[in-house]
């Protein structure tokens, strides 16, 4: 490591206001335990900061995060959206054809997933997802006390999403571990990443096998992706990798999104009262939880040329870390950002990203979140934390390992 980096030597000459160097490690366990003071430091230091620990630039204010997300030609994804630069290092797995791709290739693959997960498709699965959420909340009301992570935030998506993709029943226990590896792997070569990748072989083998066309049930999202190979929109070899994107990104994200929403309602009971009074806020209560907790905390981009962000120079070939979670609590953009408010106008938050790489599955996520919270709004009087809350540590995902709660029926 060269903590002085190149940024002082080259950038100071090009810009009178040098980029401040910070010693924050946003991938350390201590950071994950309470990220907010450090996120504030990152935000308030300057529009662009330099993190000596990993030799990367960082943006933590809303305006700069939004600007980087919306300039994919300058801030590319094809060199990886983690710390690892695919131009210099062999990726740990074959790169994603959509997440880790740039136009024009990305334009084509993105159109495929947009078609498979379009608003019209989501309308068709709505009733099924809603009925499963009702049944799940009824079952949990019978139990009274349970773990809101394992028994709800994980159990509900697992009860609907793998079926919607068309996965076989056997082997599904690999899904969450695979996603955890994928999201840890975006981080730096710390213990979380190394341990995750070392243990990933069985999960990778399962996912590779499950992505094959003959393993996916007709009518599911997976089969729909493969069907687009018949019309020439993708090649036969691209099909399995695009299905892999559904499996990598479609489950752990909603697990942490729903977990965030339950955790919010448990901590802010007055918001549950408001939700019960008007259950039509269910969808926005979920959206606000995504802003408030930002289940996906960070992503990287790589500069394709010498460029500037808000007047600060950055050389070509540099990694830029976008703090989505910090942007979602930037007081420059959000009034009273540390307050969970189910009636907030949430449009524009970057919890799902923004621009051409904005989450392709956001409509599935919102549907799952909405129907779970709508069922809670109608059936649950109170949610009380009933034991020690344990955090789960991941280089990219923010969420809980365990959230014991007791719920009471209306």
């Amino acid at each position: 490591m060269n903590p002085q980096g190149f940024s002082e030597s080259t950038n100071a000459l090009k810009h009178p206001a040098a980029i401040p160097h910070l010693d924050v490690d946003p991938f350390a366990i201590d950071f994950f335990k309470d990220p907010y003071p450090d996120q504030e430091r990152l935000r308030e230091a300057a529009p662009v900061v330099y993190l000596d620990k990993w030799n990367v630039f960082g943006v933590a204010r809303y305006a700069e995060v939004h600007a980087v997300l919306n300039d994919p030609l300058t801030f590319c994804s094809g060199r990886g959206v983690g710390l690892s630069d695919f131009a210099k290092e062999k990726p740990w797995r074959p790169p994603s054809l959509i997440l880790e791709a740039d136009p024009p290739m990305h334009t084509r693959t993105r159109a495929v997933l947009s078609k498979v997960l379009s608003p019209a498709v989501i309308k068709q699965i709505r009733d099924r997802f809603a009925a499963a959420a009702e049944a799940k909340i009824d079952e949990l009301l019978q139990r009274g006390t349970f773990d809101a992570v394992a028994d709800l935030a994980e159990a509900y998506p697992l009860s609907v999403f793998p079926d919607a993709v068309g996965l076989r029943r056997e082997g599904r226990e690999h899904l969450l571990p695979y996603a955890a590896v994928a999201f840890n792997a975006f981080g730096p070569p710390n213990e979380l990443r190394q341990t995750a990748i070392e243990g990933s072989a069985p999960h990778q083998a399962y996912v590779a096998e499950q992505c094959q066309r003959n393993n996916l049930a007709p009518g599911g999202f997976g089969a729909c992706v493969h069907a687009l190979a018949d019309t020439g929109e993708i090649t036969v070899t691209e099909g399995p990798l695009l299905v892999r994107s559904l499996l990598s990104a479609g489950l752990d994200t909603t697990v942490n999104g729903i977990g965030a929403a339950i955790y919010c309602l448990a901590r802010f009971p007055e918001e549950l009262v408001r939700l019960r009074r008007d259950p039509t806020f269910a969808r926005n209560a979920f959206e606000e939880a995504v802003r408030f907790e930002s289940p996906v905390q960070t992503f990287f981009r790589t500069t394709t040329r010498d460029t500037e962000i808000s007047g600060y120079h950055i050389d070509e070939g540099q990694k830029v870390l976008m703090f989505l979670g910090a942007a979602n609590r930037d007081p420059r953009r959000w009034e009273d950002p540390d307050r969970y408010d189910i009636t907030r106008k949430t449009s524009g938050h970057v919890g799902f990203g923004a621009g051409i790489h904005m989450c392709a599955g956001q409509l599935v996520a919102r549907l799952e979140g909405e129907v779970v919270l709508a069922a809670i709004a109608r059936k649950v009087e109170a949610i009380e934390i009933a034991g020690p809350v344990k955090r789960r540590y991941n280089n990219t995902l923010r969420g809980l390992e365990s959230l014991p709660v007791t719920i009471r029926p209306v």
């Binding site: 947009s114 078609k115 449009s347 409509l363």
Partner: protein, 107 residues
């Protein structure tokens, strides 16, 4: 000044100055027009900024892209011949006087 009128499902008319906003959706958002959700923030992914273009305006707007066309098929409220997504409508001086009716629901 580019004045746009939103007609709410209850018949209430809300006039805003779209001013410097990039799109009609962003203009509506900045004025807090209820009924324009724009869950995806203007990235043409969600169809929750659906509007019905009134009067003779439909023919005067730029034609829609195939992406907008496909998204409108998934809009929560009924799709009509004058349905558009307000995030895909760029604010230009030519839009002065535009009238948009809001659907009864966006999700």
């Amino acid at each position: 000044m580019t004045t746009i009128t939103f007609i709410h499902p209850d018949g209430r008319r809300e006039r805003i100055d779209a001013g410097a906003a990039e799109t009609v959706m962003l203009a509506a958002a900045s004025h807090g027009v209820a009924g324009i959700l724009a869950e995806c923030g203007g990235n043409a992914m969600c169809a929750t900024c659906h509007v019905y273009v009134e009067g003779g305006w439909p023919d005067r707007l730029p034609v829609m892209t195939s992406e907008e066309d496909a998204l409108l098929d998934g809009a929560a409220a009924e799709r009509l011949p004058n349905s558009r997504l307000s995030c895909q409508m760029r604010v230009t001086p030519e839009l002065d006087g535009l009238e948009l009716r809001l659907p009864d629901r966006q999700t």
